[in-house]
Amino acid sequence: MLRLDWNLLFTVINLLLLFVLMKMFLFKPVQKILDERQAEADKQFDEAKARQDAADGMKAQYEQSMANIEKEREDTLREVRRNADAEYHRIVEDAQDKAKQIKDDAVAEAENKKTQILKKAEKEIADMVVDAAVKVVGEKEGAEVDSSLYNEFLNKAGDK
């Protein structure tokens, strides 16, 4: 019981041997398995994360392209609206020009016509005056025509 001898050394050797054997047969294999399982779980986790990241990337891309499309649409719309505006203005201006021309034409024609009518009226009046004068002269003296008076009148009327 209370003695220290060679058996101490034997026990030390025994314990070291036991430690090595236990490490070899119990701790190492089990730890290896646990590590492998951990690695597998990590791998799966990483894969899932990668997949998630990829999905996120695609979503971002999609959103980006959506935003682009929206912008393009907006741009196109603005362009179209601007074009339409310009067209509208052009058309309106055209119309106005045309209307003005028509009006001017109309005014010019009216003037023309007026002049013609006036000329015609003058001529008629002159004829009427001649007739009237002939009538008057005829009633008073018949063939006795004061030719000087008559010419004078004619001249006057011709000047007009």
Binding site: M1, L2, R3, L4, D5, W6, N7, L8, L9, F10, T11, V12, N14, L15, L16, L17, L18, F19, L21, M22, K23, F25, L26, F27, P29, V30, Q31, K32, I33, L34, E36, R37, E40
Partner: protein, 244 residues
């Protein structure tokens, strides 16, 4: 008549006590099982032989438990092995902290060994821990491990410097600690096992039925496992202190 009877009782008790002393001495003496015929004969004590038996049991159990290990779809055997390893590692790691992860397998082995050695008396063997050689060997290995961990962690110079901390005047006490620590570890384990053994034997002589069974639960099983835990706990505490 009365007197005679009384004397008779006394006589039997004393005779029993004499027997007890003899029996105790016989039980306490670690017998030499066989002698190696070199250097004039080296006696191999019973404790060493029982240690071999424990080693055989542990290694065979380990081999059986860790056969056909797989990563998934594990068998029940593997589940048991994994549980044992995880629990043991967790237990020792909670004592030693993350810095001393390197020493966990050794401490776990020692924990299991002392635990089995303390309760193997129930199976008719003589506990190896009842032999001072075994506990001394355990304590010496512990102190070697503690100081080795300190040297490994800090290098020889800083390890030597640590003896003068916190002030130079405590250096002798620190050096003395190198010897008192294994001594107290050794004696605590040895004394506990021996003490509980002696108490159990006395109890068995005084009250042979029922009561020893109850006390056996405490002294043999609980105290045995607790002492294994305490031994490993103190060792890991010292290692933790050494590697800090």
């Amino acid at each position: 008549m009365e007197l005679y009877n009384n004397n008779d009782f006394k006589f039997t008790l004393i005779k029993n006590m004499g027997n007890l002393t003899e029996k105790l001495m016989e039980e306490l003496n670690c017998e030499t099982v066989f002698t190696i015929p070199v250097f004039g004969g080296i006696g191999v004590a019973e404790s060493v032989v029982v240690t071999w038996i424990i080693m055989a049991v542990m290694v065979i159990a380990a081999i059986i438990l860790t056969r056909n290990l797989r990563v998934d779809h594990i068998s029940r055997r593997q589940a048991v092995a994994e549980t044992i390893v995880t629990k043991l590692n967790g237990m020792v790691e909670s004592m030693i902290g993350p810095e001393g992860k390197r020493y966990v397998p050794y401490l776990a082995t020692v924990l299991v060994y002392i635990g089995i050695a303390n309760i193997i008396g129930l199976f008719g063997f003589k506990s190896p821990t009842k032999d001072l050689n075994v506990t001394a060997a355990l304590a010496i290995m512990s102190i070697v491990l503690i100081e080795g961990a300190g040297i490994y962690q800090h290098g020889v110079k800083k390890w030597l410097h640590k003896f003068t901390e916190p002030i130079a005047i405590v250096t002798p006490i620190n050096i003395l600690e190198v010897f008192t620590r294994p001594l107290s570890l050794c004696m605590r384990l040895f004394g506990n096992v021996l003490g509980s053994y002696v108490i159990m034997e006395l109890l068995k002589i005084i009250v042979p039925v029922v009561v020893p069974a109850v006390f056996c639960l405490y002294f043999d099983i609980f105290d045995g496992l607790l002492q294994a835990y305490v031994f490993v706990f103190l060792t890991s505490l010292y290692i933790k202190e050494a590697v800090e």
